[in-house]
């Protein structure tokens, strides 16, 4: 060891000169939080964890998953999730809903045509429903309009009913579609209520004080590549505030760095020798493999640091066998809310709550 080791950053000091830190800390100051990422990166878990953390902070969070989904139902077992917000966890303080097309369509039509009976008749007409289901962009318009209605919903005392709204978007392409929609529609629509809707939706998406898009990725080649492409697409074409980049399931180092020379020493003694088929050799190979996995993840994170430099990165630990229970969700949520400075510390294995499972 050369010279004194630097002190690890103290968790109580959240102030940093990095311009990105306040953004990360302000996640819950925004009302509409959109999350996107390639399928299979654990996006729903991150959204659920942040939802639990928001509820624990005394906010009124609502998780919205888009139709065709069932993730929240299995993350919060025992809860029933349908097209209306319902409490799912944290003693009822965390609500979730599934934004389902047919119901949202009725709400939308009812909003445009004030006579409910006629709205019901239109939404209930099988031919029209078929048209709406297949017609391009209808799903996206309805989705955005519903999100806006949820965002504008107020309590009796004038406060927003939902703060924040965490939206678990479908895969990357779908998120881009939603963002592109107002622009695309503007070329097709010149009059009628859709103009108002379009204007108001573009306004909501572009409102940097109110709306924020966060990205979720893994420290693996394919999702990292997709994240880099998504980011450059966002920068070129979309007026939306990009929040954090959550790097999920980052594998921890297999060994403390002080033990790595001993691993090499043990390998030199055993591998290639008479015991190279034995159990000890198998253990050494397993350890080396896990260390290499960790190193390749670090290399991918470094790639993100270089190619997506403006967005704060938040590393979340790999959790073997998945997450269980509200306490573990809360712990992950707190890690997700940690500032950049905290996140730069060497990641460790996820410290399981030993008592809540």
């Amino acid at each position: 060891m050369l010279g004194p080791r630097p002190e690890p950053p103290s968790p109580t000091i959240a102030v940093s000169t990095s311009p990105s830190t306040p953004r990360q800390a302000d996640l819950f100051a925004r009302q509409l939080l959109l999350f996107t990422g390639k399928g299979g990166v654990g996006k729903s878990t991150v959204v659920a964890a942040l939802g639990v953390a928001a509820a624990e902070r005394g906010l009124r969070p609502l998780i919205v998953e888009l139709g065709h989904r069932a993730s929240m139902g299995s993350i919060f077992p025992g809860s029933s999730i349908d097209h209306r917000p319902r409490p799912v966890a944290c003693g009822g303080r965390l609500a979730a809903m599934n934004l389902e097309l047919d119901e949202a369509l009725f709400d939308y039509i009812a909003g445009q045509i004030k006579i409910r009976r006629i709205a019901r008749a239109i939404a209930g007409n099988a031919s029209l429903r078929g048209l709406f289901r297949a017609a391009p962009a209808v799903r996206e318009i309805i989705t955005l309009a519903k999100l806006q209605a949820l965002a504008d919903d107020l309590l009796d005392d004038g406060r927003r009913r939902w703060q924040p709204i965490l939206v678990d978007l479908d895969a990357t392409g779908h998120a881009l579609m939603l963002l592109e929609l107002p622009q695309l529609l503007r070329s097709l629509v010149e009059s009628g209520p859709l103009v108002r809707v379009t204007e108001s939706l573009s306004g909501l998406i572009a409102d940097r004080e109110r709306t924020m898009l966060s990205l979720v990725s893994l420290a693996r080649e394919v999702p990292v590549q997709e994240t880099i492409e998504l980011y450059s697409d966002l920068q070129q074409r979309h007026a939306i505030e990009v929040g954090s980049l959550f790097i999920n399931q980052v594998p921890p180092p297999a060994l403390p760095s002080t033990l790595l020379p001993w691993l090499s020493a043990a390998e030199a003694k055993i591998l290639g020798g008479p015991h190279q088929e034995g159990t000890l050799a198998a253990d050494l190979r397993l350890t080396r493999r896990l260390e290499e996995e960790h190193l390749s993840a670090r290399a991918q994170i470094e790639r993100l640091r270089v190619e997506v430099p403006e967005i704060p990165r938040v590393e979340l630990p790999a959790i073997e066998g998945g997450l269980h229970g509200e306490k573990e969700l809360l712990r992950l949520g707190e890690l997700a809310l940690a500032t950049d400075a905290d996140a730069e510390r060497a990641p460790t294995a996820f410290d399981r709550a030993g008592d809540d499972r």
Binding site: G42, S44, S71, S74, R133, L259, P261, T279, D283
Partner: protein
């Protein structure tokens, strides 16, 4: 013969569905290699594959056309082909096939509603997959077609989209929107209420969009019979006995939730799930790929093998062994949880459904040999999940 091999030998169409990010495309490609090894002329149809998979297959690029995959000494007599589904291009090609003439074709291709429909919006992937499937299964060129469904959670679209498209081309709706005066009694009946419906739609969507939509439907209405015929044929084929659906997932909670949705969705659509493949089911702990739980280790024996020559070395190697032991416990614990989750999920699969698992490999398969290796693992009797 293993159950997976039996499936690959006996079916003409294998549809792989599953959540994104579980290695579904890799598994589909591996099964393709295996099927060709078993002597089946095989086509793997995939959608938007990662660059790496294309090189894994030994190709420089993959496009709309069927490309032969060189198998070298891995192969037997049967060839393996792969093709990628490109929604925009395939849709345009489809319009080209069914349009009456060049002018008709270019008017459709220029229509803005069509462009929205065939590109980003409106489940274009699923329509195109359906069309390509029709072509591939109708030809005698292949004994087995393996379809890797779109990498979205909406893999069920392949079963729903044809119906949706037909609903979109619903005669009544078209009757409402067509601008030309309808001909004959039937036309007038269809158009009844059309003015009201049209003005309601205009109120909702605006005149321009409704006009453009009407123009699109007018251009498309003549294509309806062709679409319908193919859609019906494909839907029948998807539910035919020589077709099998395989669900690929990982044991992670997020993925299992999506997989559950797919499993139940298939059942609800009258499709029987024939195979459940849990990929990356566990991290192997020993030398062979089936070692999911740790065998006993003796710390003393290990230290003796390492034969430390100094106190410092003894201390260092002891600390190393202690950490390795903790590492193994952590992984074994994770494997155990993952296994429980996979078993719980598998217990909901229909009777007679094949349930197999593959370990989390050191590296993603990087060449055709590795793909064949993955398939061999899946075909191994020890891969049975509920042994």
């Amino acid at each position: 013969m293993s159950a997976i091999d039996q499936l690959l030998r006996s079916r003409k169409l294998l549809v792989c569905v599953g959540p994104g990010g579980v290695g579904k495309t890799t598994v589909a490609a591996a099964l393709g290699v295996r099927a060709a090894q078993l002597g089946r002329r095989t086509l793997v149809l995939t959608i938007d594959p990662a660059r790496r998979l294309i090189t894994t297959l030994g190709l420089d690029e993959l496009g709309d056309a069927y490309r032969p995959i060189p198998l070298g000494d891995l192969g037997g007599e049967a060839p393996l082909y792969a093709a990628m589904l490109d929604p925009g291009a395939s849709f345009d090609a489809l319009v080209g096939r069914v349009a009456t003439d060049e002018e008709h074709r270019s008017r459709i291709l220029d229509n803005r509603v069509y462009r929205l429909m065939s590109r980003a919006f409106g489940n274009a992937h699923a329509y195109v997959a359906m069309e390509r499937l029709y072509d591939a299964t109708a030809s005698d060129e292949f004994d087995l077609v393996i379809l890797d469904t779109p990498p979205t959670r909406n893999a069920l679209d392949i079963l729903d989209a044809p119906g949706r498209l037909l609903a979109f081309l619903d005669e009544r709706v078209i009757g409402w929107l067509l601008r030309q005066p309808p001909e004959g009694l039937r036309g007038r009946l269809l158009a009844r209420g059309g003015a009201a419906a049209r003005s309601l739609l205009s109120l909702l969507a605006g005149d321009t969009l409704v006009d453009e939509l009407a123009a699109f439907l007018e251009l498309f209405v003549s294509l309806r019979p062709g679409f319908q015929e193919r859609a019906v044929a494909v839907q029948e084929r998807l539910r035919a006995p020589e077709t099998a659906f395989a669900l690929v997932t990982s044991p992670l909670a997020d993925n299992l939730a999506d997989a559950t949705y797919l499993r139940d969705g298939l059942a609800g659509r009258g499709v029987v799930l024939r195979a459940l493949i849990v990929n990356r089911a566990y991290v192997p702990l020993g030398e062979h790929p089936w070692s999911a739980s740790p065998e006993a280790r003796s710390f003393e024996d290990a230290l003796q093998l390492l034969a430390p020559s100094s106190e410092e070395e003894r201390a260092g190697l002891s600390a190393l062994l202690g950490h390795i032991s903790a590492l193994r416990r952590r992984i074994a614990d994770g494997n155990c949880r993952a296994h429980e989750a996979a078993l719980t999920f598998a217990s909901g699969a229909p009777r007679g459904c094949l349930k197999v698992q593959a370990p989390n490999l050191d590296h993603e398969p990087l060449d055709r040999r590795a793909l064949a290796g993955l398939a061999a693992l899946l075909a191994d009797p020890r891969a049975q999940l509920d042994r």
